[in-house]
Protein backbone atom coordinates (compact mmCIF):
# COMPACT_ATOMS: atom_id res chain seq x y z
CA UNK A 1 0.00 0.00 0.00
CA UNK A 2 1.42 3.38 -0.76
CA UNK A 3 0.55 4.88 2.59
CA UNK A 4 1.25 8.55 2.11
CA UNK A 5 -1.33 9.31 -0.52
CA UNK A 6 -4.16 7.78 1.48
CA UNK A 7 -6.05 9.45 4.23
CA UNK A 8 -8.63 8.42 6.77
CA UNK A 9 -11.49 10.26 8.42
CA UNK A 10 -10.91 10.55 12.11
CA UNK A 11 -13.65 11.99 14.30
CA UNK A 12 -12.35 13.21 17.58
CA UNK A 13 -14.20 14.39 20.66
CA UNK A 14 -13.63 18.08 21.30
CA UNK A 15 -14.56 19.95 24.43
CA UNK A 16 -15.67 18.87 27.88
CA UNK A 17 -18.63 16.71 28.90
CA UNK A 18 -20.88 18.56 26.47
CA UNK A 19 -18.49 18.63 23.56
CA UNK A 20 -18.93 17.16 20.14
CA UNK A 21 -17.10 15.19 17.48
CA UNK A 22 -15.00 16.93 14.90
CA UNK A 23 -13.63 15.17 11.86
CA UNK A 24 -10.09 15.41 10.54
CA UNK A 25 -8.39 13.97 7.48
CA UNK A 26 -5.27 12.17 8.63
CA UNK A 27 -2.63 10.67 6.34
CA UNK A 28 -2.27 6.91 6.64
CA UNK A 29 1.09 5.23 7.20
CA UNK A 30 2.26 1.68 7.38
CA UNK A 31 2.99 1.52 11.11
CA UNK A 32 0.59 3.79 12.86
CA UNK A 33 -1.22 3.61 16.16
CA UNK A 34 -4.25 5.53 17.33
CA UNK A 35 -1.94 7.59 19.51
CA UNK A 36 0.04 8.47 16.38
CA UNK A 37 -3.15 9.55 14.66
CA UNK A 38 -4.20 11.77 17.52
CA UNK A 39 -0.67 13.16 17.82
CA UNK A 40 -0.59 13.97 14.12
CA UNK A 41 -3.76 15.99 14.45
CA UNK A 42 -2.32 18.00 17.34
CA UNK A 43 1.12 18.44 15.81
CA UNK A 44 0.12 19.29 12.26
CA UNK A 45 -3.54 20.12 11.99
CA UNK A 46 -5.16 21.40 15.17
CA UNK A 47 -2.72 22.53 17.87
CA UNK A 48 -5.49 22.88 20.43
CA UNK A 49 -6.25 19.17 20.66
CA UNK A 50 -5.66 17.67 24.12
CA UNK A 51 -4.87 14.04 24.92
CA UNK A 52 -2.63 12.20 27.33
CA UNK A 53 0.18 9.71 26.96
CA UNK A 54 3.57 9.03 28.48
CA UNK A 55 5.39 5.78 27.77
CA UNK A 56 3.99 5.11 24.28
CA UNK A 57 4.59 1.36 24.66
CA UNK A 58 1.79 0.09 26.87
CA UNK A 59 3.46 0.47 30.25
CA UNK A 60 2.11 3.62 31.84
CA UNK A 61 -1.61 3.26 31.19
CA UNK A 62 -2.29 6.92 30.53
CA UNK A 63 -3.35 6.87 26.89
CA UNK A 64 -6.60 4.91 27.06
CA UNK A 65 -9.48 6.29 25.00
CA UNK A 66 -12.69 5.08 23.42
CA UNK A 67 -11.94 3.93 19.90
CA UNK A 68 -15.04 3.24 17.85
CA UNK A 69 -16.89 2.96 21.12
CA UNK A 70 -14.53 0.48 22.73
CA UNK A 71 -11.98 1.26 25.42
CA UNK A 72 -8.40 0.71 24.27
CA UNK A 73 -4.80 1.62 25.01
CA UNK A 74 -4.19 3.84 22.04
CA UNK A 75 -0.41 3.58 21.94
CA UNK A 76 -0.69 -0.12 21.30
CA UNK A 77 -3.71 -0.10 19.06
CA UNK A 78 -2.69 -0.34 15.45
CA UNK A 79 -4.88 1.63 13.10
CA UNK A 80 -5.30 -1.45 10.95
CA UNK A 81 -7.11 -3.17 13.79
CA UNK A 82 -9.84 -0.58 14.14
CA UNK A 83 -10.17 1.23 10.83
CA UNK A 84 -13.68 0.69 9.48
CA UNK A 85 -14.56 1.98 6.02
CA UNK A 86 -11.66 4.38 6.18
CA UNK A 87 -12.90 6.01 9.38
CA UNK A 88 -12.17 5.95 13.08
CA UNK A 89 -13.93 7.57 15.99
CA UNK A 90 -11.93 8.52 19.07
CA UNK A 91 -13.42 9.78 22.32
CA UNK A 92 -12.38 10.26 25.94
CA UNK A 93 -12.45 7.27 28.25
CA UNK A 94 -15.91 6.36 29.44
CA UNK A 95 -17.03 6.47 33.07
CA UNK A 96 -14.64 9.23 34.04
CA UNK A 97 -15.10 13.01 33.99
CA UNK A 98 -13.75 14.65 30.85
CA UNK A 99 -11.18 17.35 31.46
CA UNK A 100 -10.82 18.41 27.86
CA UNK A 101 -11.07 16.65 24.51
CA UNK A 102 -9.52 13.21 24.93
CA UNK A 103 -8.12 13.66 28.42
CA UNK A 104 -10.18 12.18 31.20
CA UNK A 105 -9.83 12.87 34.91
CA UNK A 106 -8.48 9.66 36.41
CA UNK A 107 -8.75 10.76 40.03
CA UNK A 108 -11.98 8.85 40.78
CA UNK A 109 -10.32 5.71 39.49
CA UNK A 110 -7.36 6.10 41.84
CA UNK A 111 -9.48 7.25 44.78
CA UNK A 112 -11.30 3.96 44.49
CA UNK A 113 -8.05 2.08 44.11
CA UNK A 114 -7.06 3.35 47.55
CA UNK A 115 -10.56 2.94 48.97
CA UNK A 116 -10.56 -0.74 47.99
CA UNK A 117 -7.60 -1.19 50.31
CA UNK A 118 -5.19 -1.33 47.40
CA UNK A 119 -2.13 -0.38 49.40
CA UNK A 120 0.39 -2.77 50.87
CA UNK A 121 0.51 -2.83 54.67
CA UNK A 122 3.96 -4.00 55.70
CA UNK A 123 4.51 -6.98 57.93
CA UNK A 124 8.27 -6.48 57.97
CA UNK A 125 10.68 -3.57 57.76
CA UNK A 126 13.69 -2.57 55.72
CA UNK A 127 15.88 -3.79 58.55
CA UNK A 128 14.78 -7.37 58.15
CA UNK A 129 15.95 -9.79 55.52
CA UNK A 130 13.80 -10.53 52.51
CA UNK A 131 11.67 -13.54 53.31
CA UNK A 132 11.69 -16.43 50.88
CA UNK A 133 8.58 -16.82 48.74
CA UNK A 134 7.77 -20.02 46.92
CA UNK A 135 7.16 -18.82 43.36
CA UNK A 136 4.83 -21.76 42.73
CA UNK A 137 2.92 -21.56 46.00
CA UNK A 138 -0.85 -21.20 45.61
CA UNK A 139 -1.05 -17.78 47.28
CA UNK A 140 1.76 -16.34 45.23
CA UNK A 141 0.39 -17.70 41.99
CA UNK A 142 -3.05 -16.30 42.70
CA UNK A 143 -1.62 -12.96 43.75
CA UNK A 144 0.65 -12.81 40.73
CA UNK A 145 -2.23 -13.30 38.33
CA UNK A 146 -3.26 -9.67 38.63
CA UNK A 147 0.01 -8.02 39.55
CA UNK A 148 0.80 -6.71 36.09
CA UNK A 149 -2.12 -4.29 36.01
CA UNK A 150 -1.00 -0.95 34.62
CA UNK A 151 -4.04 0.90 35.98
CA UNK A 152 -5.03 2.07 32.54
CA UNK A 153 -8.72 2.18 33.43
CA UNK A 154 -9.76 0.33 30.28
CA UNK A 155 -11.67 -2.20 32.36
CA UNK A 156 -13.21 0.60 34.38
CA UNK A 157 -14.46 2.19 31.18
CA UNK A 158 -15.78 -1.10 29.85
CA UNK A 159 -17.85 -1.96 32.90
CA UNK A 160 -21.55 -1.10 32.84
CA UNK A 161 -21.82 -1.49 36.58
CA UNK A 162 -19.38 1.36 36.97
CA UNK A 163 -21.51 3.36 34.54
CA UNK A 164 -24.63 2.87 36.60
CA UNK A 165 -23.27 2.84 40.11
CA UNK A 166 -21.12 5.78 41.18
CA UNK A 167 -19.97 4.02 44.32
CA UNK A 168 -18.78 0.87 42.64
CA UNK A 169 -15.06 0.47 43.15
CA UNK A 170 -14.60 -1.11 39.75
CA UNK A 171 -12.64 -4.05 38.41
CA UNK A 172 -9.05 -2.77 38.64
CA UNK A 173 -9.28 -1.63 42.25
CA UNK A 174 -10.95 -4.86 43.29
CA UNK A 175 -8.41 -6.92 41.43
CA UNK A 176 -5.68 -5.08 43.28
CA UNK A 177 -7.46 -5.85 46.56
CA UNK A 178 -7.59 -9.53 45.62
CA UNK A 179 -3.87 -9.52 44.84
CA UNK A 180 -3.11 -8.04 48.24
CA UNK A 181 -5.46 -10.45 49.93
CA UNK A 182 -3.39 -13.32 48.58
CA UNK A 183 -0.08 -11.67 49.35
CA UNK A 184 1.21 -13.34 52.48
CA UNK A 185 3.42 -10.31 53.14
CA UNK A 186 0.36 -8.11 53.55
CA UNK A 187 -0.39 -7.46 57.17
CA UNK A 188 -4.06 -6.58 57.04
CA UNK A 189 -5.80 -9.21 54.97
CA UNK A 190 -9.01 -9.11 56.99
CA UNK A 191 -9.14 -5.36 56.47
CA UNK A 192 -9.29 -5.92 52.74
CA UNK A 193 -12.42 -8.02 53.03
CA UNK A 194 -14.02 -5.18 54.98
CA UNK A 195 -12.91 -2.61 52.44
CA UNK A 196 -14.51 -4.53 49.57
CA UNK A 197 -17.76 -5.36 51.38
CA UNK A 198 -19.32 -1.91 51.59
CA UNK A 199 -21.97 -0.33 49.39
CA UNK A 200 -19.53 0.06 46.50
CA UNK A 201 -17.83 -3.25 47.04
CA UNK A 202 -17.20 -6.41 45.05
CA UNK A 203 -20.75 -7.65 45.54
CA UNK A 204 -22.01 -5.12 43.03
CA UNK A 205 -20.20 -6.86 40.20
CA UNK A 206 -22.54 -8.70 37.85
CA UNK A 207 -19.77 -10.76 36.31
CA UNK A 208 -20.46 -9.25 32.95
CA UNK A 209 -16.83 -9.84 32.11
CA UNK A 210 -16.22 -6.76 29.99
CA UNK A 211 -13.25 -6.00 32.21
CA UNK A 212 -11.60 -9.28 31.37
CA UNK A 213 -12.65 -9.03 27.74
CA UNK A 214 -11.05 -5.63 27.20
CA UNK A 215 -8.04 -5.70 29.52
CA UNK A 216 -5.12 -5.06 27.16
CA UNK A 217 -2.81 -7.03 29.41
CA UNK A 218 -4.99 -10.10 29.32
CA UNK A 219 -5.66 -9.97 33.03
CA UNK A 220 -8.83 -11.37 34.53
CA UNK A 221 -10.38 -8.95 37.03
CA UNK A 222 -13.66 -10.83 36.82
CA UNK A 223 -12.06 -13.92 38.32
CA UNK A 224 -10.33 -11.80 40.95
CA UNK A 225 -13.65 -10.27 41.97
CA UNK A 226 -15.23 -13.70 42.12
CA UNK A 227 -12.42 -14.63 44.48
CA UNK A 228 -13.29 -11.71 46.73
CA UNK A 229 -16.95 -12.70 46.71
CA UNK A 230 -16.01 -16.21 47.70
CA UNK A 231 -13.79 -15.11 50.54
CA UNK A 232 -16.24 -12.54 51.85
CA UNK A 233 -19.04 -15.09 51.72
CA UNK A 234 -16.90 -17.56 53.58
CA UNK A 235 -16.11 -15.02 56.27
CA UNK A 236 -19.82 -14.17 56.43
CA UNK A 237 -20.65 -17.72 57.42
CA UNK A 238 -17.68 -17.92 59.73
CA UNK A 239 -18.75 -14.78 61.58
CA UNK A 240 -22.30 -16.09 61.84
CA UNK A 241 -21.10 -19.20 63.55
CA UNK A 242 -19.39 -17.17 66.09
Amino acid sequence: MDGQSQTMDVSVWRGGEDGDYQTYQVPAYESQTILDVVSWIQQYEDPTLTYRFACRVGMCGSCAMMVNGEPRWTCRTHVRKVLTDGAIKVGPLRNLPVIKDLAADMDPFFDKWVAAGGVHTPSASRNEPIAPVDPDGDDRVTASAGIECINCSVCYAACDTVAGNDDYLGPAALQRAWTLYNDTKHDNRAGILDAVSGTGGCHNCHSMGSCTFYCPNELDPMAAIAGLKRETARSFFRNRKG
Binding site: R94, H206, G209, Y214, R230
Partner: protein, 113 residues
Protein backbone atom coordinates in the same frame (compact mmCIF):
# COMPACT_ATOMS: atom_id res chain seq x y z
CA UNK B 1 -21.95 10.04 25.36
CA UNK B 2 -20.88 6.97 23.50
CA UNK B 3 -21.84 3.49 24.53
CA UNK B 4 -19.24 0.90 23.94
CA UNK B 5 -19.90 -1.96 21.60
CA UNK B 6 -19.50 -4.89 23.91
CA UNK B 7 -21.49 -7.77 22.63
CA UNK B 8 -19.23 -10.50 23.92
CA UNK B 9 -20.71 -13.74 25.23
CA UNK B 10 -20.48 -13.03 28.96
CA UNK B 11 -22.00 -9.61 28.55
CA UNK B 12 -24.88 -11.11 26.60
CA UNK B 13 -25.29 -13.65 29.38
CA UNK B 14 -25.53 -10.79 31.82
CA UNK B 15 -28.16 -9.02 29.73
CA UNK B 16 -30.13 -12.21 29.43
CA UNK B 17 -29.97 -12.72 33.17
CA UNK B 18 -31.06 -9.20 33.87
CA UNK B 19 -33.87 -9.17 31.33
CA UNK B 20 -35.14 -12.52 32.52
CA UNK B 21 -34.96 -11.35 36.13
CA UNK B 22 -36.99 -8.23 35.41
CA UNK B 23 -39.47 -10.11 33.27
CA UNK B 24 -39.97 -12.66 36.00
CA UNK B 25 -40.38 -9.97 38.59
CA UNK B 26 -43.07 -8.39 36.42
CA UNK B 27 -44.77 -11.64 35.57
CA UNK B 28 -44.76 -13.16 39.03
CA UNK B 29 -47.27 -10.77 40.62
CA UNK B 30 -49.54 -11.49 37.68
CA UNK B 31 -49.12 -15.17 38.21
CA UNK B 32 -49.85 -14.79 41.92
CA UNK B 33 -52.94 -12.77 41.12
CA UNK B 34 -54.27 -15.42 38.81
CA UNK B 35 -53.66 -18.12 41.34
CA UNK B 36 -55.39 -16.28 44.13
CA UNK B 37 -58.44 -16.17 41.90
CA UNK B 38 -58.56 -19.89 42.57
CA UNK B 39 -59.74 -19.08 46.04
CA UNK B 40 -62.29 -16.40 45.40
CA UNK B 41 -63.55 -17.16 41.91
CA UNK B 42 -62.57 -20.59 40.67
CA UNK B 43 -64.77 -20.21 37.57
CA UNK B 44 -62.75 -17.26 36.49
CA UNK B 45 -59.66 -19.30 36.93
CA UNK B 46 -61.09 -21.95 34.68
CA UNK B 47 -61.90 -19.29 32.14
CA UNK B 48 -58.42 -18.16 32.40
CA UNK B 49 -57.08 -21.62 31.94
CA UNK B 50 -59.15 -22.02 28.79
CA UNK B 51 -57.78 -18.76 27.60
CA UNK B 52 -54.41 -20.24 28.36
CA UNK B 53 -55.04 -22.86 25.70
CA UNK B 54 -54.68 -20.25 22.96
CA UNK B 55 -51.51 -20.80 20.92
CA UNK B 56 -50.25 -17.30 21.49
CA UNK B 57 -50.67 -17.67 25.21
CA UNK B 58 -49.00 -21.02 25.07
CA UNK B 59 -46.12 -19.43 23.33
CA UNK B 60 -45.99 -16.79 26.06
CA UNK B 61 -45.93 -19.49 28.67
CA UNK B 62 -43.15 -21.18 26.85
CA UNK B 63 -41.36 -17.87 27.07
CA UNK B 64 -41.95 -17.64 30.77
CA UNK B 65 -40.72 -21.09 31.49
CA UNK B 66 -37.78 -20.30 29.32
CA UNK B 67 -37.14 -17.17 31.35
CA UNK B 68 -37.37 -19.01 34.60
CA UNK B 69 -35.11 -21.77 33.37
CA UNK B 70 -32.61 -19.43 31.82
CA UNK B 71 -32.52 -17.25 34.90
CA UNK B 72 -32.15 -20.18 37.24
CA UNK B 73 -29.43 -21.79 35.19
CA UNK B 74 -27.64 -18.49 34.73
CA UNK B 75 -27.91 -17.75 38.42
CA UNK B 76 -26.49 -21.14 39.30
CA UNK B 77 -23.66 -20.53 36.91
CA UNK B 78 -22.89 -17.22 38.58
CA UNK B 79 -22.92 -18.70 42.02
CA UNK B 80 -20.77 -21.60 40.94
CA UNK B 81 -18.27 -19.18 39.56
CA UNK B 82 -18.36 -17.00 42.63
CA UNK B 83 -18.19 -19.66 45.25
CA UNK B 84 -16.59 -22.74 43.86
CA UNK B 85 -12.83 -22.62 43.95
CA UNK B 86 -12.36 -23.34 40.28
CA UNK B 87 -12.69 -20.93 37.48
CA UNK B 88 -14.05 -22.96 34.62
CA UNK B 89 -14.18 -21.45 31.17
CA UNK B 90 -16.95 -19.03 31.76
CA UNK B 91 -18.08 -18.72 28.20
CA UNK B 92 -18.84 -22.39 27.80
CA UNK B 93 -20.68 -22.38 31.08
CA UNK B 94 -22.75 -19.41 30.01
CA UNK B 95 -23.58 -21.12 26.76
CA UNK B 96 -24.30 -24.31 28.64
CA UNK B 97 -26.72 -22.49 30.91
CA UNK B 98 -28.60 -21.10 27.94
CA UNK B 99 -28.54 -24.46 26.25
CA UNK B 100 -29.96 -26.09 29.32
CA UNK B 101 -32.72 -23.51 29.50
CA UNK B 102 -33.64 -23.99 25.88
CA UNK B 103 -33.75 -27.73 26.37
CA UNK B 104 -35.91 -27.50 29.41
CA UNK B 105 -38.35 -24.99 28.03
CA UNK B 106 -38.32 -26.84 24.73
CA UNK B 107 -39.43 -29.98 26.51
CA UNK B 108 -42.12 -28.03 28.23
CA UNK B 109 -43.23 -26.45 24.99
CA UNK B 110 -43.48 -29.78 23.23
CA UNK B 111 -45.55 -31.08 26.11
CA UNK B 112 -47.98 -28.23 25.94
CA UNK B 113 -48.80 -28.46 22.23
Amino acid sequence: MMRPARAHPLWLAFVLHRVSGVALALFLPLHFYVLSLALRAPERLDNFLTFAELPLVKFAEFGLVFLLAVHTAGGLRLMAMEWLPWSAPQKSLAAGAVGFAVLLSGTFFLQVI
